[in-house]
């Protein structure tokens, strides 16, 4: 999130509350979880790291609303490096996979049941994402983000289908043998 806040400042120096509003607008319903405090905590960290400078505007001191944040040259370099970066968040599937394997091996739980429960959970997430996407006006940036979330969840659900097939097959083999 630090990188995102930095990049937001690349256009022009900005107030903290202004930054918060811009982030919320881009994130749409997903930004609702973010409170202004998080922004100031992040900005404070960036300032300590020498990536932004805080210029106090006129009026009462120490009121966050009165602070305007701007990028330092180091901050600008960091933004450029961030944009050039090709790293991608990895979905962590190994943990769930190991959970199924462990449950089956120790006969702690039925892996098929675990898959079903997980599936229900993901479906609920997907439902929320879908409903949020439906509520977005066509062409909104947040809609695009929700589309990505939904596609991710869809991929996960399909993987769970594959898990279910595999584990119910394994079950049959055990019973048959």
């Amino acid at each position: 999130m630090q990188d995102a806040v930095l990049a937001m400042l690349a256009k022009e120096p900005s107030h903290g509350y202004h930054l918060h509003a811009r982030l919320r607008r881009v994130l749409g319903p997903l930004g609702e979880s973010m409170n202004r405090g998080q922004i100031y905590v992040t900005l404070a960290r960036l300032e300590r790291a020498g990536l932004v400078v805080c210029e106090r505007a006129d009026g009462l001191p120490e009121r966050p609303e009165r602070k305007v944040y701007a990028l330092t040259p180091a901050g600008q370099q960091r933004v450029a490096a961030w944009l050039a970066e090709v790293g991608w968040p990895k979905p962590d599937l190994a943990e769930f996979h190991l959970k199924l394997a462990a449950a089956a091996a120790a006969r702690l739980a039925d892996p098929v049941e675990l898959v079903a429960a997980q599936r229900r959970e993901l479906l609920r997430h997907l439902r929320e994402a879908q409903q949020a996407a439906l509520a977005e006006p066509a062409g909104s940036g947040a809609g695009l983000l929700l589309e990505g979330v939904a596609l991710r969840l869809q991929a996960d659900l399909r993987w769970l289908d594959a898990c279910e097939r595999a584990w119910s097959g394994a079950d049959d083999e055990v019973e048959g043998g």
Binding site: Q2, S33, Q131, V149
Partner: protein
């Protein structure tokens, strides 16, 4: 579940295709109740029997065994003529391939079931323009289906399914031929219908379509393998998180997009 509130009900429903050793049970001993106002999605891989189930519930196919009830009336024993009347009055269909009449305009397609049900031309026309307005195609009323996009065609088909105020709308892969944007258009209409208390049964293999339902049934080899209550008006025992309020986002999706500082 309160029987009187079930618009569609099936008991021990069986449908086999073919004979002898090649015989396939497309639908195998299925029990189902769809209460008034519920949006039910049926999911499964192709060939699992979900389309057959839909045809059985809508009276397009006759079951090999079991019973189908529609609005408290048993329909699997009805004559073809009575079935047709039942469809006219109580059921609307939406298909993957749209199945619009190619030589009729959008408005004329929507009017068709109303005319079949014996409404006057004026009533049919008024109802059709209202519904086309509702699906956002008022300005395309005089277009032939060939001049409409896939999504627009499907919206016309939805309007046509609604023209006789059906008790239940059956949709068979309604977004199967549509791109993402058109899918969202159709899902938005379904969402409006759901809000208005329309009973909907959607057969789909698209998780994203299924996820918009109140309840999701998974089918494999003609049988129900899972019945999940995602949310909604039903009185079931599902463990849903409620109907998508702001708090849901924090726990669920906020984490998914990795907003932690």
């Amino acid at each position: 579940m309160n029987v009187s509130s079930a618009v569609v009900r099936a008991r021990g429903l069986v449908r086999t295709h073919g004979r002898g050793p090649g015989r396939v049970r497309a639908v195998d001993e299925v029990d189902l109740e769809v209460p008034q106002g519920q949006t039910l999605a049926v999911m499964g891989p192709s060939g699992c029997g979900k389309s057959t189930l839909l045809h059985l519930l809508g009276g397009l196919e006759r079951p090999t065994g079991g019973e189908v009830w529609m609005d408290g009336r048993r329909i699997d024993t009805l004559s073809e003529r009575a079935l047709a009347r039942m469809r006219r009055r109580s059921v609307g269909f939406v298909f993957q391939a749209f199945h619009l009449v190619e030589e009729l305009t959008a408005a004329e397609n929507v009017e068709l079931p109303a005319l079949l049900a014996g409404r006057s031309r004026r009533q049919a026309r008024r109802r059709a323009s209202l519904l086309l307005e509702r699906v956002g195609l008022a300005d395309r009323a005089r277009h032939l289906p060939s001049r409409l996009s896939g999504g627009q065609r499907q919206r016309v088909a939805v309007a046509r399914a609604l023209v006789n105020d059906p008790l239940v709308v059956f949709a068979d892969e309604p977004t199967g031929n549509l791109d993402t944007a058109a899918t969202l258009d159709v899902l938005r209409i379904f969402e409006d219908l759901r809000a208005a208390g329309q009973t909907l049964v959607i057969v789909t293999h698209d998780e994203r379509v299924a996820a918009t339902a109140d309840r999701l049934i998974s089918m494999r080899d003609g049988m129900f393998v899972d019945d999940t209550r995602l949310a909604g008006t039903g009185t079931g025992t599902g463990t849903g998180t409620g109907t998508g309020t702001g708090t849901g986002w924090l726990g669920g999706l906020g984490g998914l997009i990795g907003l932690e500082g």
